[in-house]
């Protein structure tokens, strides 16, 4: 196996005297999609901030094999910029203006958002906003994506559609993804592996490896079985 894209060793984090994460061990291989699920307030967003390098661990290490982009549940787009300008910000600054504009145009056309290029985020639906945010991350050609409850603020049908889109995008151009979610169904539909975190201070309770083929249909018997295992692990069954 090649070197992991992302490796956590003995990772711990505390806000002052309050421990949030304890002794996390995890390696994520290139192209893998790992979902982290856990009870709300267990420190999932803190974990992602550590993985993204936005917080410094109080213990242990996070090793990333490259830059990462994080996608947030809501409010990740800059509300003062148009859709096109937000996506353009995603293109590395070293790229010249013409190439940048071409890349943004390509992406907008591919995502059926061309007619919304000059709209501001508050003028879009929640699903469109998340699609734009995903686009801003994808135009960078960054290999590591960190998704912080990216579809949680959306309605159920839009959520299902967005999961399919994400899976298709990753099939076309594989990237390494860590998805943090409280939505067990989402984790089971999309992930190659699922890390179940315990309550605060969170550590890894168990890791589930799923058979290949994503996105899995919510009605797939394998999905139901995995969901059952996670629910038991979280004491919810």
């Amino acid at each position: 196996m090649t070197a992991p894209m992302l490796a956590l060793h003995g990772l711990g984090f505390a806000y002052g005297a309050t421990p949030v994460l304890q002794d996390l061990e995890l390696e994520v291989a290139a192209g893998e999609l790992v979902a982290c699920v856990g009870p709300s307030g267990c420190g999932k967003s803190t974990l992602l901030a550590l993985l993204g390098g936005h917080l410094r661990p109080t213990r242990g290490t996070v090793v990333r094999a490259g830059a990462s982009r994080t996608i947030y549940q809501d409010g990740g787009l800059f509300p003062w910029l148009t859709v096109a300008a937000n996506v353009a910000l995603g293109v590395p600054r070293t790229v010249d203006a013409a190439t940048r504009a071409a890349r943004v145009g390509d992406w907008l056309a591919k995502s059926h958002l061309a007619e919304f290029a000059d709209h501001y985020p508050h003028q879009l639906s929640g699903g469109m906003r998340q699609r734009v945010e995903l686009g801003r991350a994808l135009v960078a050609e960054t290999d590591l994506l960190l998704l912080d409850e990216p579809f949680s603020a959306l309605d159920y049908q839009t959520r299902l559609r967005m999961r399919r889109e994400l899976a298709a995008t990753l099939a076309a151009r594989p990237r390494t993804v860590v998805l943090v979610t409280h939505d067990i169904e989402e984790a089971v539909q999309l992930a190659d592996r699922i890390v179940v975190l315990g309550p605060r201070p969170a550590s890894v309770r168990t890791v589930l490896t799923l058979p290949p083929g994503r996105p899995r249909a919510p009605t797939d018997p394998g999905v139901a079985a995995a969901t059952q295992t996670i629910l038991e692990e979280l004491g919810l069954s």
């Binding site: 936005h54 947030y72 409010g75 003062w80 985020p121």
Partner: protein, 261 residues
């Protein structure tokens, strides 16, 4: 702007109602004046004020005075914005600098700018500089404070995104913090321009020989109460115009999210 009551006022009435109130006030003033209700020399008649307007406008003095006052407010205010906003952005981002400096910003903010007039004259003599200095002081501290306050409300997510996108240092302040606070900042600037306009009149009563403040003090010295009223009406009208200008600026597309989100 959102209407304050549930039922919006029809657009026509927004013009008709205030004009009707103005006409009513004018009629009351005219009747009281024509029937001799005011002691002699205390309140000029509307006709005298109208004649005063005509004379001042024809001589060109009124326009000169308006230009002089707007010039002082413009330069003093823009100067204050250019220093206060960057300072506020830096104080908003750095807790130590904020702890050290913000109490002093507050201290000076509560000092009436009028209290600085003696120093303004001793330091800058007469003419425009002391007036510009007074306008600067009147707005600088409150714009700084408003910028710091707005900066504190910028969501942390914006900074994390900026970090992912490779923005660093001053680029974060000017490409993230500044646009993020712009809607709030515009509200603060709208208040500040009102204060600057109020203060320019006071400053012009002391150290200069032009401007609407000077017009009023000069008219008082000549007991021309009609011209005092000419000055007052002009100041009020321009104050409303400045406020409307800033309200309009606050509706620019890149700021609209501030009121619609």
């Amino acid at each position: 702007m959102r209407p304050m009551s549930a039922r919006p006022v029809p657009p026509v009435l927004r013009w008709v109602l205030p004009l009707a109130v103005g006409a009513l006030l004018l009629a009351a003033w005219w009747i009281a004046s024509a029937t001799g209700q005011f002691p002699r020399g205390t309140v000029p008649s509307p006709e005298a004020v109208a004649r005063g307007f005509g004379a001042e406008a024809r001589s060109g003095r009124l326009v000169d005075d308006i230009v002089a006052s707007l010039y002082r407010v413009g330069f003093g205010f823009v100067g204050a914005v250019l220093v206060a906003v960057p300072l506020g952005l830096v104080l908003g981002r750095f807790a130590l600098a904020r702890a050290a400096i913000l109490p002093w910003v507050n201290f000076f903010r509560t000092l009436s700018p009028i209290a600085w007039i003696p120093f303004a004259i001793i330091w800058f003599g007469i003419g425009d500089p002391p007036a510009l200095f007074i306008i600067f002081l009147a707005t600088f501290f409150q714009i700084t404070l408003a910028t710091v306050g707005a900066t504190a409300t910028v969501p942390r997510v914006h900074y994390r995104v900026a970090d992912d996108l490779g923005l660093r240092g001053a680029a974060v302040l000017f490409e993230v913090t500044l646009p993020a606070i712009l809607p709030q900042l515009m509200v603060a600037l709208r208040v500040a321009i009102g204060v600057a306009w109020m203060v320019v009149v006071a400053a012009e009563m002391i150290a200069v020989r032009s401007g609407l403040g000077f017009l009023i003090i000069d008219a008082r010295n000549a007991l021309r109460m009609d011209l005092v009223v000419v000055g007052m009406i002009t100041i009020g009208a321009i104050g409303i115009a400045l406020d409307a200008l800033f309200a309009w600026l606050g509706r620019a597309p890149m700021m609209r999210w501030g009121s619609e989100r």
